[in-house]
């Protein structure tokens, strides 16, 4: 097997047994990026020199016997995380020249564990998008069919991992930006409970919804890195002061006795029959492993997309007010007043989707509309949360589709924002409620990957990862790789 086909555990064992060095492993991945990324556009910035220096430090640490299970293993960081001394663009012209003056907490943690950053992964501008077509740096292509989108907003992270240009990548999820792209590229992606992973140094989109996680080839790989990323951080005011569970240890929990709920609203009209067939087969696998399955209802879930498109733009319009052309970021030339400086810097620096969301957010927060839109959406958000609370009184996990269908063609939905927003119809509710959720591969339709979604109760990441791992022991969908990237 080639190095890029090994799991994180196998890479760690190989490094500790000196079968290969971190420098060799890093060079292997940098070589693959050079060979394949022109076709995919999954990286905005490749940090080869920094990576090789980190690899050499990791090799020294391995030789000294001071390594963690992640020391010497490369990764891609989504370009939403601030990386000291390295451009952090967030996929926007606004931050095209922004060199972050500090590290995000998760960057510090993964650097500290000895991981090697290969570069910064492409993404939808300010994480606003479901196809990775809103990036200032151009669309990312899906390695399973380069005429199709990889999903978004973490499109660069998933394309890089799916094509074997990085063994694992960080990602973020405000309304499905980890799970939907993972589903579209045959990966396992997890968004933990809100507050589990620090948001410090993660450029803010919608602060009550944003959460960082990982995309990987398996639940086992995801568990190892999530374990290292998670934990209380005093620098994030919504970080939760609570010990991190043993995610890696939870992988081997048996499925027998697990109660799985199938939300009837998620299997209604709109789900592609090809995707439905894959998910129904996966349910049979879980039953075969000893899980009990029953129908549950999340009656307010049809309102999750409209709720989200009030709450998220409202928070975004407030968060993105910081980009003023004065302190950092793009500044318009040849302006004569302060107001003109603000307006032109923002008009030039933000792309169309970001501008749309800023305007929607400004509108729903403005005098006379606040009650009808923002307050109403916050009340419906409570109804969506209550649905989950009731369901988790009856079941341990909720299982359903991640996306309505397989990856669509580039350009298919770019002229119709509402059609694009409906891509996240199954994923948004978990962000509104704050619960953990993940997507994992469960089959193929028209030779393209189909993902299923697992949702868990607050802080039940371990149980979710365990169920996913047991499913992956019984199936091999997650091991399949796209042709042309061998």
């Amino acid at each position: 097997m080639s190095l890029h086909e090994l799991s994180l555990r196998e890479l760690g064992e190989g490094l500790r047994a000196k079968k290969f060095s971190s420098r060799e492993l890093t060079q292997h991945y940098l070589g693959r990026i050079g060979q394949h990324d022109k076709a995919l556009n999954s990286f905005i910035t490749v940090t080869a020199e920094r990576a090789l220096a980190q690899a050499d430090a990791a090799d020294a640490r391995l030789a000294a016997g001071a390594a963690t299970p992640l020391t010497g293993i490369p990764l891609a960081q989504k370009d939403i995380f601030c990386t000291s001394g390295v451009r952090t663009s967030c996929g926007s012209k606004m931050l095209d020249k922004f060199i972050a003056p500090y590290d995000a907490t998760i960057v510090q943690k993964l650097d500290g564990a000895g991981m090697v950053m290969l570069g910064k992964a492409n993404m939808d501008e300010f994480a606003m998008g479901s196809s990775n077509e809103t990036s200032y740096y151009g669309p990312v292509k899906n390695p399973w069919d380069v005429e199709r989108v990889p999903g978004g907003s973490s499109g660069g992270s998933v394309a890089a991992v799916a094509a074997g240009l990085a063994p694992i990548a960080t990602a973020t999820d405000t309304g499905g930006s980890i799970r939907q792209p993972a589903a579209l590229t045959n990966l396992t992606g997890i968004k933990p409970t809100y507050g589990r992973v620090s948001r410090y140094g993660m450029i803010a989109f919608a602060s009550s919804l944003d959460q960082a996680g990982v995309v990987a080839h398996s639940a086992e790989d995801a568990a190892v890195v999530l374990q290292a990323m998670s934990g209380f951080d005093p620098r994030d005011s919504t970080s939760v002061e609570r010990p991190v569970d043993d995610y890696v240890g939870a992988l081997n929990s048996p499925i027998r006795g697990l109660r799985i709920g199938l939300p009837k609203e998620y299997f209604a009209e709109g789900l592609d029959p090809g995707a439905r067939a894959c998910i129904e087969a996966a349910i049979k696998v879980f039953e075969g492993l000893g899980a009990s399955v029953r129908e549950v209802s999340l009656p307010s879930s049809p309102l999750s997309v409209p709720t989200y498109y009030v709450v998220a733009p409202a928070e975004a319009s407030s968060n993105l007010a910081r980009f003023d052309g004065v302190r950092y970021g793009h500044r318009a030339e040849g302006v004569h007043t302060l107001e003109e400086l603000y307006k032109r810097s923002r008009g030039e620096g933000f792309g169309a989707e970001v501008q749309r969301r800023i305007m929607i957010g400004t509108y729903v927060l403005s005098h006379g509309y606040y009650d009808a839109y923002y307050l109403k959406a916050q009340k419906v958000r409570r109804l969506i949360y209550d649905d989950f609370r009731r369901a988790f009184a009856e079941v341990d996990l909720i299982l359903g589709p991640t996306a309505q269908s397989v990856a669509f063609k580039l350009g298919a939905k770019t002229d119709d924002p509402v059609a694009m927003y409906l891509n996240d119809i199954y994923t948004i509710a978990a962000n509104l409620a704050g619960i953990p959720a993940m997507s994992l591969p469960c089959g193929f339709h028209q030779d393209l990957p189909v993902g299923m979604q697992l949702m868990g109760n607050f802080f039940d990441e371990g149980r979710m990862l365990g169920a996913a791992h047991q499913y992956q022991q019984a199936t091999d969908f997650h091991q399949r790789r796209p042709k042309g990237f061998e």
Partner: protein, 95 residues
Amino acid sequence: MSLSPEQVKQVAHLARLSLPPEKVEPYARQLSNILDMVSQLSSAGTDGVPPMAHPLEMVQRLRPDVVSEENRRDAFQAIAPAVENGVYLVPRVIE
């Protein structure tokens, strides 16, 4: 719900966004479509439902009132588009 081009211009002004004239009409159409989709919310019965601002029932943490950050003025000004003698430059605001 539909937004007129005049309303779009007003919202863009509030958000401090300059819009080229040819973009106003397409934005008015797209934003109206989004608000149409959002208007489904009015179908939900929410009498007596407390608004939910945040997924976690938590209160703001407090810390001792002592300086915890170092002074990084030079590092932060190094990434500013225009500074001079330690201050940020903006167009003249007082005539």
